[in-house]
Symmetry: C2
Subunit: 354 residues, 2 copies
DNA sequence: CTGAAAGCGCTTACAG
DNA sequence: CTGAAAGCGCTTACAG
């Protein structure tokens, strides 16, 4: 009953048939290329809408020779902290998946203790003019001129792990730092009594540059204030050379405060505090950050009680995917994607996938 | 310098050139189809290995007209609990993604309070002979004969949310129930003193059938035993008709135990206990399961202190993906994939993505 | 401004 | 047991 002429073609071919044009012309309007009269363009767009046409992405990819070039810039994983191994893993996962879709990824790294290494890599990136950039903007002031140039070159960039608000990034993927500190305080409130004293510790060579840590502290303090808890918080900034120097400083503080009930370390360096507590044998609750092997070991031994984690692997993965979705699929992407605030203990860490 | 003959072709074409056969023959050995002499088959396999040939999945999909038919069988989300809306959401996500890859998904449901509805749906599935099945095997005894038939028909099946060990499922995706109870006890140990009394509550019409709940209880008790904590645990089984009857039962228990410090509810029905606590105004810590809107409300009000969640959306998503990977990609899949045991509080629930 | 044709890397009848 | 050819739904020169 259905003769050949009535047979419904699919995709672009059907659009072409209805519009009485060639598929090349349909392709032109699909990709908003020039060289189509306004009249036929409107006609075709109408048909596309009528049909609710969805392009076949596999066919598109197969036919297209186009490659999308992405560059990632994150700290290198160091002796002191293997944190950045996780986002890298996520980046590599995304890289593997995107290979089929014509996405090429170049990964470059900087040293968190060396501002110059950051500058060097940003120059490299600008020279290479990729289609998109993923970066961890650790050095705020150094990042800004780089980002300005990206904007000039119309290169979209996404931030992971820490944000620079107001920089017109395609998106930020990482923790809500304030809320992360707030949650830590929430945990603390279950663990100590109103009259106990606790210690908050920042450990970083570049504390002043690390807006990151201070933001967590703000959230932490805000919790107690908002809930009218008058727990006494002692604070210590440690600019360590090594674990040894951290242990010495912590030791000094503890010997002056015999009533300390709990220590909250605002980043992944919590293991160096744990090292001291273990040796000294003092029974103090300890909360810190990040699923690193050294931290997990202390968690397992009961020296660290809680670790807060924010899916570092997923940050890398999603960061790259966001660029892909924007550049290739032309999807819109959320401007902020906050990671969950995961609470890890001795009893659930082995199930944690991040 | 490079003449046409030396140009390296890619993929199947290059293999064919080297083996001096047609691409059709290469395709035959790639798919282990019959009709190729042992000699040429070996020659071709050698070349495939040499080249470390990776098929282009997009081209494969585009050319193939094959469709993979999957059926999912899970409880329908009910008035009493919206839990199953989450796995369904995950299933639908996977369905959307897999559409492009020629996967067709049919979703059927049963009533958790009606064994017959389960039986009826399994018959439907067997009649339809899909390529794979995803199911929540709530009714253990009823599931077994069905699974036997699946095995006879060589239809692979995957379990989500609860496992039936020894049934040769392709895989299980869900919580480790024992460890989930164990973690709950771990939390409790931070919240109460050695001399406090706590209450453990199962709420289910089909408690005896629900191996599920008992397994959590085992883990919960094991924690205290292994850690030599002599906290007194009162236990209550409630077979409710509605929230009202739960509240009455809880009320009776509480009035007989003035020293109760904490209640642990072994499933998502924790909100009905919360309802009572809120009305009565008694200050008792409350721990339960699952990210349901009714639970989150009580969490937010401070009536529920902790919810344990195990990524129900992801369970549905991964379940379907496991079938796809097995059937289409011929990848191997892990026989057990335990979900993380997430701890949700008032301060981190808004970041929870599952 | 528009179209005919080749081609992306596979699979699928069909013929021999 | 093996191969030539058409086709999957697109993109990309190229010609007019």
């Amino acid at each position: 009953m259905v003769n050949k002429k009535d047979t419904v073609l699919s995709g672009i071919r059907e659009i072409a048939r209805r519009a009485k044009v060639s598929i090349a012309t349909v392709d032109r309007v699909l990709h908003k290329r020039t060289g189509v009269s306004a009249k036929t363009k409107d006609r075709i767009n109408k048909i596309i809408a009528d049909l609710d046409y969805q392009p076949n992405l596999m066919a598109r990819r197969l036919a297209s020779r186009k490659v999308t070039r992405l560059i990632t810039l994150i700290p290198k994983s160091s002796e002191e902290s293997s944190f950045w191994a996780a986002p890298l893993k996520g980046i590599e996962q995304a890289e593997t998946e995107l290979l089929q879709f014509g996405v090429n990824v170049v990964k470059v790294f900087f040293d968190q203790d060396d501002i110059e290494s950051f500058n060097k890599q940003t120059k490299y990136i600008l020279k290479n003019k990729p289609d998109g950039v993923l970066l961890a903007p650790s050095f705020l002031e150094q990042a800004k001129p780089f980002l300005r140039q990206c904007k000039n070159l119309k290169i979209p960039f996404v931030f992971i792990n820490s944000d620079i608000p107001g920089e017109e990034s395609l998106c930020y993927i990482g923790p809500n730092l304030y809320k992360s500190g707030y949650l830590a305080a929430n945990l603390v409130s279950y663990l100590v009594n109103k009259t106990d004293e606790i210690l908050l510790v920042h450990i970083s060579k570049e504390i002043d540059n690390h807006y990151h840590l201070l933001r967590k502290e703000e959230g932490f303090r805000a919790y107690f204030k908002e809930n009218h808890l008058s727990i006494k918080i002692i604070k210590s900034d440690i600019r360590p050379k090594d674990n040894h120097s951290v242990e010495r400083e912590i030791g000094a503080i503890l010997s002056g405060n015999k009533n300390l009930k709990l220590i909250f370390v605002t980043n992944s360096r919590v293991s160096s505090v744990a090292g001291y507590l273990k040796k000294s044998g003092r029974d103090i609750l300890l909360i810190g950050y990040d699923y690193l092997s050294e931290n997990i070991e202390f968690l397992n031994e009961g020296v660290i009680n809680f670790l807060i984690c924010q899916k570092p692997v997923e940050q890398g993965y999603r960061g790259l995917m966001a660029l892909y979705r924007h550049l290739v699929l032309k999807d819109s992407v959320e401007q902020q994607y906050f990671m969950p605030i995961d609470i890890i203990t001795k009893e659930n860490y082995s199930f944690y996938r991040n």
